[in-house]
Symmetry: C2
Amino acid sequence: MPETPIPGQPQLQPTADHGVASTRVEQVMRDIRQRIEGRSLCAGKRLPSIRAQAEALGVARSTVVDAYARLVAEGVIESRPGSGFYVGRQLTPFSVAEVQPGMAPQSDPVWVTRQSLLADAASLKPGCGWLPETWMPEQDIRRALRTLSRRALAPLTGYGTPQGSPQLRQLLSHRLAERGVKAAPAQLMLTESGTQAVDLLCRFLLQPGDTVLVDDPCYFSFQAMLRAHRAEVVSVPYTPQGPDLVALAQCLAQHRPRLYLTNAALHNPTGASLSLEVAHQVLVLAAQHELTIIEDDVFADFEHHPAPRLAALDGLQRVVYVGSFSKTLSASVRVGHIATRADWISQLVDLKLATAFESGHFSAELLHTLLAGGTYQRHMNGLRARLADAMGLTIERLQRLGIQPWHRPQAGMFLWCRLPDGVDAADLSQRALLQHRMVLAPGNAFSLSQSAGSFMRFNAAQCLDPAIGRALGALLA
Amino acid sequence: MPETPIPGQPQLQPTADHGVASTRVEQVMRDIRQRIEGRSLCAGKRLPSIRAQAEALGVARSTVVDAYARLVAEGVIESRPGSGFYVGRQLTPFSVAEVQPGMAPQSDPVWVTRQSLLADAASLKPGCGWLPETWMPEQDIRRALRTLSRRALAPLTGYGTPQGSPQLRQLLSHRLAERGVKAAPAQLMLTESGTQAVDLLCRFLLQPGDTVLVDDPCYFSFQAMLRAHRAEVVSVPYTPQGPDLVALAQCLAQHRPRLYLTNAALHNPTGASLSLEVAHQVLVLAAQHELTIIEDDVFADFEHHPAPRLAALDGLQRVVYVGSFSKTLSASVRVGHIATRADWISQLVDLKLATAFESGHFSAELLHTLLAGGTYQRHMNGLRARLADAMGLTIERLQRLGIQPWHRPQAGMFLWCRLPDGVDAADLSQRALLQHRMVLAPGNAFSLSQSAGSFMRFNAAQCLDPAIGRALGALLA
């Protein structure tokens, strides 16, 4: 690689240990490129001076000089003599992947999802975020499809109403009331999916640069999504009763986040649920600090008995509620929903029309058919029992391998576990994929603070194949 | 309304003409509120001084003093004595509606969509952006649903692959080749819809504050969507052969937009298509000014003979291509697709996973069933002939009312027309809705420059009911 002299900068001698220096230069380059792709450095913005950058990254100034020179040669940044270095105008598409130098690729928030979706049927997926297809009500869906294919006024070709099927909203309103959330059909809006619902709410509630609070650990896609919204993300540790209240109070005072994005019941990845006391305190703190909360409740139907919902205590004043059936009914035919203040619905509908137009009209009808006929309720009764058995068995098998549950969830599929001493979750995940075609979910993919390197999320429903225990045993040996 | 004294500001006497002054105060307040909701004024940002604001809006300083005082009382802005007024930290959700004081609500880009979706079956919808449901292949979809309900490996419950069904991408790749766009299946990604595809690409390619070019007139949802991306939008006039090249060159030099969002064939709302010469010149200019282009080709299948595609000439280097079947097959079971450079696909897939997770797996299978069996091609042959007849008849009827086509489209459903002298399209649309439950599409909803006040978009397929001619005649009399 030729040395490119920088105008107005003293040209430095190559260092003796050229190999190491070159690696450091590439790390600095990678770091800057990622900040440009992630929009923390925008087009036309001035880069830190060479001295400031060297101090910030703990590298020699000559390393920064080399890195800047090469980025100038690539057209990524521009040198303006007498003024400094600026991000170039060349288009750099946005990237959600946020793997820092030195971070394991398995800690990239999108890694687990991508691997799980790409895994073929023969792959083992104990880290997967959804149920095996054989656990889903395929026959019920086949029957519902035939019913719809014959129904006179089935919504097969046209657009639906902007807010989404009134009948389905009516039915969802009743279901929400059962877990204490009072939302009239007029306070509900249907979306393409739970993910799209959260994304739409982030667009609605956030400005670029706003600070958002998440749990540590939290669902990894929250991190990737918030990055796409150019939010600053902070986190507080999650306990078996909910967020750590002392840390929460400190964080709210220090960072003044606008939004808290969380699962209140059957939290992903820990499987924990809010206690009533913590739920109340979270809302008291939220009121003190003008915090809006998105309560993503996509695992609600796995519960045997409903845990307290923030949305129920709060009456949907500062809590916005999100639900979906992708985890329990079908991930192919998806419908999400948002319950919120009545005066926000019209703006939310407009935002949906502008960015997604209408949402799954056919899916909504299919869901309504399954919910109204009682089919879904029967399916869920069976599913809950089956999951409880799987959870018991999985805990037993993992414990035999020295893998300890951090908490025993009251329901659901997720089990957050501590690995035996000295075992690194990212390393184990990488070896599992290469040696056993097995997709694991390493702790740091869920941890903003990267403090969960010895934790792993398991999906009890995906852990029943004895080959998983054998593979884990071999990897841990 | 009590007068609230502002600390550090002289308290002004109420003006004599209190009614008019109070209206002006409300206009200033509304203007500031909209800029906060639209994020052109961000939390914590300083507002213009009272003098500057008064000059900018052409109102008396006392009006601005009153408006600021009331906004302080509402908590929307904060007064910092000795420093000025600042946008408050209170959360103001984002709004895509962008009706300026004095602008007709019918010019709000979301108005036509909202009214069209809310209209019941009995309403007349000559301004609607889609075909009547009776023109869509309902029986074909019913049959396809029954086929899928019986197919052994139908994707009814699980997630699909991140990039979307390989079989469908293979088939789409062949179809694109027929109109000269060379895209291997690996260069295609499926999305929930064409709208979601464009939205995802905006996220991928834009930073907040980037300038984006659209046609004038253009599809109104582009304006609303770009607002949601916090883009600055500029426009160039559209001619029957494509964008005005002189205006385009000037605009590129002056505003340096990063992105051009357009329909190349059967442009919405004008029905015009790019000529080969203009297509070539657009790409030459784009290369000179490092412009990326999104070619939204959702009306492609209406064409009798394919017009030149920017993506075909350019080989998908700086043009990203978007397609969908929502306008021709079903708006209830939607699938969109993006064709782009191979090296952008993986980042786009990650962005889709982070913000929407997986896209309509079931819809993709249904679409594949209809495309692979030849059903769709048969449907489109009939549809094109039917639309050509409807277009001829509609032009004849409108001309009798003194409504003149700006251009005779070679195909498709849209007809862009000039109203008789002195008739205002927004006013006509408002009266049509109130007096005849008829949804029209007034020109300025499509025009960034608000220069299309005497134009109207008609949908030939929605214009066949003679009641429309009668209602228009009565309104114009």
